[in-house]
């Protein structure tokens, strides 16, 4: 008997519970078969908040160097940040080179991602187009499929569709680097789906889950006594209300909470990780520690059966000092992200784990004067971006799609973001058109209105 219910347990409503972990899980988070055979069983979604410059990371534009500081011309109907001042082109401060056997181009600040063992696992998609150039709207769009900030996150849809493999820990876990991103928890909300599918925030410091532990003056033994007493009161109550299953479900949620108290601290305790592993993820270096910890935890969580992990790297919004910003930001993610992909491969998990890494939009090839000087930075651009994928049935070592010669717009294999969402679900064995939920008088879906697969992103 797992964390038994005390000597008094035994009514019908509780017989289920007593079987503990051995029984086949039921309920809203029980594992479900995919709708379509798929490779990816889990997903790690890395959000680079603020919008990295695609032409400064994975989409080289030598032409921009030629045009550097010459006046740029904008299409008034293009969805770009509104500027009234004159704009000029900005060449990337970084050099690029081909990496690995596949020759994927990366800026030279990526040292670890450039390792052929990592680079050749990547799929760089350059054809995606977002919709909004406002951070929270665009983040909501990337994370939930809608700019309005009230829809379920991708992870909520995936756990709704597939359930989760470990019933003792949350199925959809979220971590942020320091601050919450713009738009806050709406980026991992269950939206209109039942609360079971909400992203659970794992905190980097203090209690990993809110209120995971009782106050310091209560022992675990006392808590067990209290839960047993509560169960007794609830059983008496249930006898007077025999027709209502929700009472038993609520009692069960208390026992699961009790099990989580034991499992979650262990899960986030990195002290037993090997020195080599800590070093690989950059935990020993101030500059990579915060993001490295998220990457290492992401791997551990997926290993434990978490279905969907969403992690954030903040501060990519480089309007002003692109070289300084992106150098530091790239350095903070380069080593941990490379370690994650390598680690997943070495553990034989990469084929079944889809890694998606993206900003909420790309950036403009040009900029305006800011703060009274020529600012070597870039504005927001919803018409071009670079999305990085790895594992989970994506074609390794490929570049899909292209942007124009200055990176202003996607021009090849061009798809709206919703098509990326549709493809993403497909990689996880879910059909966007069938993964629907009736809300507000309509069957809603991640893509909002239905979309197309991007076959080039499926190996």
């Amino acid at each position: 008997m797992l964390f038994g219910l005390g000597a008094t347990a035994g009514t019908l409503a509780f017989s289920d519970l007593l079987a503990g972990e051995d029984r086949v899980p039921t309920g809203p988070l029980a594992p479900k078969s995919p709708m379509i055979p798929a490779k990816a069983k889990a997903c790690i979604f890395v959000v680079l908040e603020g919008g990295p410059g695609h032409m400064d990371t994975f989409d080289p534009k030598p032409k921009l160097r030629e045009l550097h500081l010459t006046e740029s011309v904008r299409d008034p109907e293009q969805v770009l940040v509104e500027v009234t001042a004159k704009t000029y082109y900005v060449g990337s401060p970084f050099d690029f080179r081909k990496t690995g056997n596949s020759g994927i181009e990366m800026c030279d600040r990526f040292l670890h991602m450039a390792d052929p063992a990592v680079a050749d696992e990547l799929c760089v998609y350059r054809g995606c187009q977002a919709q909004s150039v406002n951070h929270p709207d665009a983040l909501y769009h990337l994370n939930t499929g809608s700019t309005l900030g009230a829809d379920p996150g991708v992870g909520a849809w995936v756990t709704y569709g597939l359930g989760t493999l470990n019933q003792n820990i949350p199925g959809y876990v979220v971590m942020t680097e320091l601050a919450f991103p713009q738009g806050g928890a709406g980026n991992w909300s269950n939206g209109f789906l039942p609360a079971h599918y909400q992203g659970t925030l794992l905190r980097p410091t203090g209690s990993p889950l809110l209120d995971l532990k009782p106050p310091q003056w209560k022992s675990r033994e006392q808590q067990r006594q209290s839960l047993d007493m509560l169960a007794e009161m609830n059983r008496r109550h249930s006898r007077r209300h025999p027709s209502h299953d929700e009472l038993a479900a609520r009692m069960e949620s208390y026992e699961l909470a009790y099990r989580m108290q034991a499992e979650v601290p262990e899960l986030v305790d990195l002290s037993k990780e090997s020195a080599a592993s800590k070093d690989a993820y950059g935990l020993d270096d101030e500059r990579t520690r915060a993001f490295g910890r998220q990457c290492l935890l992401a791997r551990r969580l997926v290993e434990k059966g978490v279905r969907f992990v969403q992690i954030f790297s903040g501060g990519w919004d480089s309007h002003d000092f692109l070289e300084r910003n992106h150098s530091a930001r790239i350095r903070s993610v380069d080593k941990p992200l490379a370690a994650l992909i390598r680690d997943l491969r070495q553990r034989g998990m990469l084929d079944e784990t889809l890694v998606v890494c993206s900003g909420e939009f790309g950036r403009t090839p040009d900029n305006n004067r800011r703060g009274g000087v020529d600012a070597n930075g870039r504005g927001h651009n919803a018409d071009a971006m670079a999305v990085l994928m790895a594992g989970g049935g994506t074609p390794a070592g490929t570049v899909v799609g292209a942007t124009d010669e200055v990176g202003n717009r996607a021009v090849e294999v061009v798809h709206p973001l919703r098509d990326l969402h549709v493809t993403w679900l497909r990689l996880m064995g879910l059909d966007d058109n069938r993964l629907t939920y009736f809300h507000g008088g309509r069957f809603k879906q991640l893509s909002q209105v239905g979309g197309q697969l991007i076959p080039e992103l499926i190996a």
Binding site: G186, A195, L210, L230, G372
Partner: protein, 926 residues
């Protein structure tokens, strides 16, 4: 009138076999009729969006908008249609699911019904005739006068983008809500309340009896929670339970409806629908100072039983109808409830975002007809043409957002204005000082920079225009961390400066004028000079794009209601005035016209849904074809008619509903399994559906039990203690992170009812959020009540519930010191009953055991930080930096009584109290 009205389309029931025996000529006629009445609308509704209707979208290269396209086929190279042979026609095979993996339409919920599939087959087997537009129009006109088997009804509207749409038939059950509202006769049963007549009739048809009446105790809790969101006090319980006289129930309802707690509970429901919050959301999540005045207006309106028609008109156009009345400016705060911001967004699009939000919200809130679906195309299933969407859009196109002067009302709570203002000033000054220090550091460095080059010093304000080489670089003289701090302090100064508006007699409201979108983050003020001759350019926006203005439109209403506006002198029956002012007032008057078929049904259905857990039309925000069909339309229509006839009184509606036997049924019945076999979802309401308390009800009830609830009404947002990790969690806003959350300094101020708690779109109170309080970014018609483990963690472990349990324990120890009487007192307070002797003994043992083990524990005293260090990744540098934030509230803070302040005995009693808070009996209403 234009001859709008209800047309009928007669269509033969079509089955393949019925055609075989007919002559070729007759077949051709039937084929053409079939095409005009069924197949053409079907192709348009189900196929054309991806196959030919939209330029640039031709999936699979297949065009299904012409016969030629079908015959030619798509990328497969095979024709999609072989006239006369459905078995060889890919079109039929795909819709019938007989083409292997290929099933069309792709979305499961769009698939054709078996009857529709049969019609496609019949049409193909009849040779797939495709008459021209004129012939189609003739067939449709002829069909109008026919009376065959009804395949559908046509609804006249202002007209769709295509004739197919305009002419398409609807299933009568899909457009029930657009039908005129008439009062049905009450079925003849020996009952006192008409509701029971309808209920009995439906139960009788299903062969089910009504459940027995609930026990008085359950009824008491049900009524208390439904009307006030609070449990009955022991005195209230005694008054009702011991009153055996016939009028006891009615008197209980009267007392509850007269309580100010009533408006707080029902105001909460309304605020869910309209998406109330105290901040604007979006990039900066700026405070909408004085938004609380709208919240209090809503509460006041419910408490005063303001007639619903007036309530609607005031929220849509109070400012136009009574321009001098400050309360009306507050009321139109409704038009400011959606999340909105203009950061980085082109102004035209920011304006469009506002109007789209208003149109959708107005339709959803007052008409239960969400309109967003008609923004880009004619509505897929409801009779709402895109033209109507943009006509309603035009009705609001002169409406502009602003904070406007509105004198405080005598009834408004202005407590703590002085102390609040002082608190905000302190924080602003703190930011200003630090900002100034950093700015002067820049100036010192700049002075040096100019001096080193032998150049004359140019102060910061004048350096902008200089060429880059003639001035120091940006932020010259600051360390990278200081660059970040400067941004934070500047943003904080602006945030606190804006926050001072809380204490000004302003209202978050609207005005009529030319388009007005000030720069991001600026205050919204009515501009000094308004061009009274300005008129919006109102057109359909093709595909919903602000860059694609289409056909011009006039302001108007939903034509499918067939309800004309009262705007004389214009031939268009659904037009509204097109002056700068008066559009909204005319629209509002149309909404509350007693003949409007949607408005009364909408509100009556909402009220019903809050009482029964489900509406009579099951989706209160959507009475259209996609909403759940009404379980009892006759009852809904009777209630709606009765509601309008009797002055749109919501309190009267509660009485009507709650005095019915249907409402008073038990949640249990001895033959439950037999009933569930017949009616698994309890659509017939053959027993009462229990409900879990909403987040606010849980919190407020804990406070009532602990004796801490402060019944003060209205005023500035209350700041309860929230989880400290969340209160201090940094969250990004544009340029910076938002200031930390600081609770109110005294328990009395913190322990207000939850409806008065500060609602920040970007930062939910985790206690509320975990118990399914909805995000204010979307309208909520019904709360989710899933039980998830984080709820258990919160209720068992959080500082909030622990502190309430300690306060409850202290109250009990004061009022009934001996353990036995204390347990009894607790049960009376929590459950309005006495505990059974056996459980009482068990609880007494539990308390002794806990007390014994608590003697060896030593709780740590709580700490409240006055200065905290926060960090974020700076965008200038890409590296993290930290800065200090001041939390002055904790310098003069009256904390809740904590475990460290009380004895082991009290801690043991608190454990017992915590069990009560966590019990199912506390959390559910039956």
């Amino acid at each position: 009138m234009f001859g709008f009205g209800w047309g009928r389309v007669g269509v033969c029931l079509l089955a393949g076999a019925c055609f075989a025996a007919q002559s070729a000529a007759a077949s051709a006629v039937h084929g053409e009729r079939l095409f005009a009445l069924e197949i053409k609308p079907l192709l348009a509704a189900k196929c054309a969006a991806c196959h030919g209707q939209n330029p640039g979208v031709l999936l699979g290269g297949l065009d299904l908008t012409s016969r030629e396209g079908l015959l030619q086929g798509g990328q497969s190279g095979r024709p999609a249609l072989v006239p006369g042979d459905s078995g060889q026609s890919a079109l039929f095979l795909a819709v019938a699911g007989q083409a292997g993996d290929l099933v069309m339409p792709p979305k499961g919920n769009d698939r054709l019904s078996p009857a529709q599939v049969a019609r496609v087959r019949a049409w193909i087997d009849l040779g797939a005739p495709w008459p021209g537009d004129e012939e189609v129009a003739e067939i449709l006109a002829a069909a109008d006068s026919d009376r065959g088997d009804a395949a559908g009804v046509r609804i006249a509207t202002s007209g769709g983008q295509t004739d197919e749409w305009t002419q398409r038939p609807y299933k009568p059950e899909d457009i029930w809500a657009f039908r005129p509202l008439t009062k049905p006769a009450v079925p003849d049963f020996p009952v006192a309340n008409p509701i029971d007549g309808f209920h009995r009739a439906r139960l009788a048809a299903a062969g089910i009896d009504a459940a027995p009446r609930s026990a008085d105790l359950a009824l008491l809790r049900r009524a208390s929670y439904d009307l006030t969101g609070l449990p009955p006090s022991p005195a209230q319980a005694r008054a009702f339970l011991e009153d055996g006289s016939p009028g006891a129930w009615a008197r209980l309802l009267d007392r509850l409806l007269a309580s100010p707690r009533y408006g707080e509970q029902w105001g909460r429901h309304w605020l869910d629908v309209v998406r109330y919050a105290d901040t604007a959301g979006n990039s900066n999540d700026y405070e909408r100072s004085n938004a609380w005045r709208y919240r209090d207006y809503v509460i006041r309106s419910f408490n005063e039983d303001r007639p619903y028609d007036r309530f609607v008109v005031e929220q849509l156009a109070g400012d136009e109808l009574r321009p001098g009345d400050p309360e009306m400016r507050v009321a139109t705060g409704f038009l400011r409830m959606g999340p909105w911001g203009s950061a980085m967004v082109p102004k035209k699009m920011a304006r469009q975002a506002y109007l789209d939000d208003v149109v959708h919200s107005v339709g959803q809130t007052f008409l239960s007809m969400p309109l967003r679906c008609a923004k880009c195309h004619d509505h897929k299933v409801d009779p709402i043409p895109t033209r109507d969407y943009y006509r309603i859009y035009a009705a609001f196109a002169a409406t502009q957002m602003a904070e406007r002067p509105a004198a405080f009302l005598a009834s408004e709570n202005l407590a703590r204005f002085d102390s609040g203002r002082e608190h905000v000033r302190q924080l602003r000054d703190f930011a200003t000082e630090r900002k100034a220090a950093l700015e002067s550091k820049i100036e010192d460095a700049a002075r040096e920079w100019f001096a080193e080059r032998g150049m004359a010093f140019v102060p910061a304000g004048k350096r902008n225009a200089l060429p880059d080489e003639d001035k120091p670089p940006r932020h010259w003289g600051l360390t990278p961390a200081e660059e970040g701090r400067l941004k934070v302090r500047r943003q904080d100064e602006w945030i606190w400066t804006r926050r001072l508006e809380r204490y000004e007699p302003l209202a978050q409201t609207v005005f009529n004028g030319p388009d007005y979108i000030p720069g991001n983050g600026r205050k919204l003020r009515v501009p000094g000079k308004l061009d009274a001759s300005w008129r919006p350019d109102s057109t359909v926006l093709d595909g919903g794009s602000v860059h694609a203005p289409g056909e011009p439109v006039n302001p108007g209403v939903l034509s499918a209601t067939q309800l004309p506006t009262r705007y004389p002198g214009v031939p268009d029956p659904f037009a509204l005035p097109d002056g700068l002012a008066g559009r909204r007032a005319a629209f509002a008057n149309w909404v509350v016209d007693p003949r409007n078929p949607l408005t009364a049904r909408s509100i009556v259905n909402r009220v019903w849904a809050y009482h029964f857990g489900r509406g009579l039309g099951a989706t209160p925000n959507n009475l259209g074809a996609l909403g759940a069909k009404p379980t009892d339309q006759a009852l809904l229509d009777w209630l709606a008619s009765d509601f309008v006839e009797n002055g749109w009184s919501i309190k009267r509606l509660h009485r009507t509903i709650m005095t019915s036997e249907m409402y008073r049924q038990s949640s249990e019945r001895s033959d439950m399994s037999a009933v569930r076999e017949k009616d698994p979802a309890n659509r017939l309401m053959a027993y009462f559906n229990p409900r879990r308390l909403a987040a606010e009800e849980l919190r407020d009830s804990m406070l009532q039990l602990s004796g801490e609830l402060n019944g003060e009404i209205g005023g500035l947002p209350a700041m309860p203690e929230i989880n400290m990790d969340v209160a201090l969690q940094p969250r990004m806003i544009q340029f910076s992170i938002a200031p930390a959350y600081q609770p109110s300094p005294t328990p009395g101020q913190r322990n207000r009812r939850s409806i008065y708690a500060y609602r920040v779109r970007g930062q939910a109170d985790p206690l509320m959020e975990v118990f399914n309080q909805p995000s204010p970014n979307d309208s909520c018609e019904r709360r989710d009540s899933s039980s998830v483990s984080p709820q258990a963690l919160t209720m068992m472990n959080s500082a909030y519930s622990t502190n309430r349990s300690i306060a409850f324990a202290m109250r009990l120890a004061r009022e009934a010191p001996a353990t036995d009487s204390l347990i009894e007192r607790a049960y009376r307070l929590a459950f309005a009953r006495l505990p059974e002797p056996q459980i009482k003994r068990r609880l007494a043992d539990y308390i002794s055991a806990m007390e014994a083990s608590h003697r060896s524990s030593s709780p740590a005293a709580a700490k409240y930080p006055t200065r905290i260090t926060r960090s974020l990744v700076e965008e200038f540098t890409g590296a993290p930096f930290s800065y200090e934030e001041w939390l002055p509230v904790y310098e003069q803070y009256t904390p809740d009584t904590r475990a460290s302040d009380v004895s082991a005995r009290t801690r043991a009693l608190a454990d017992f109290c915590l069990l009560l808070f966590n019990s199912n009996e506390f959390a559910y209403v039956y």
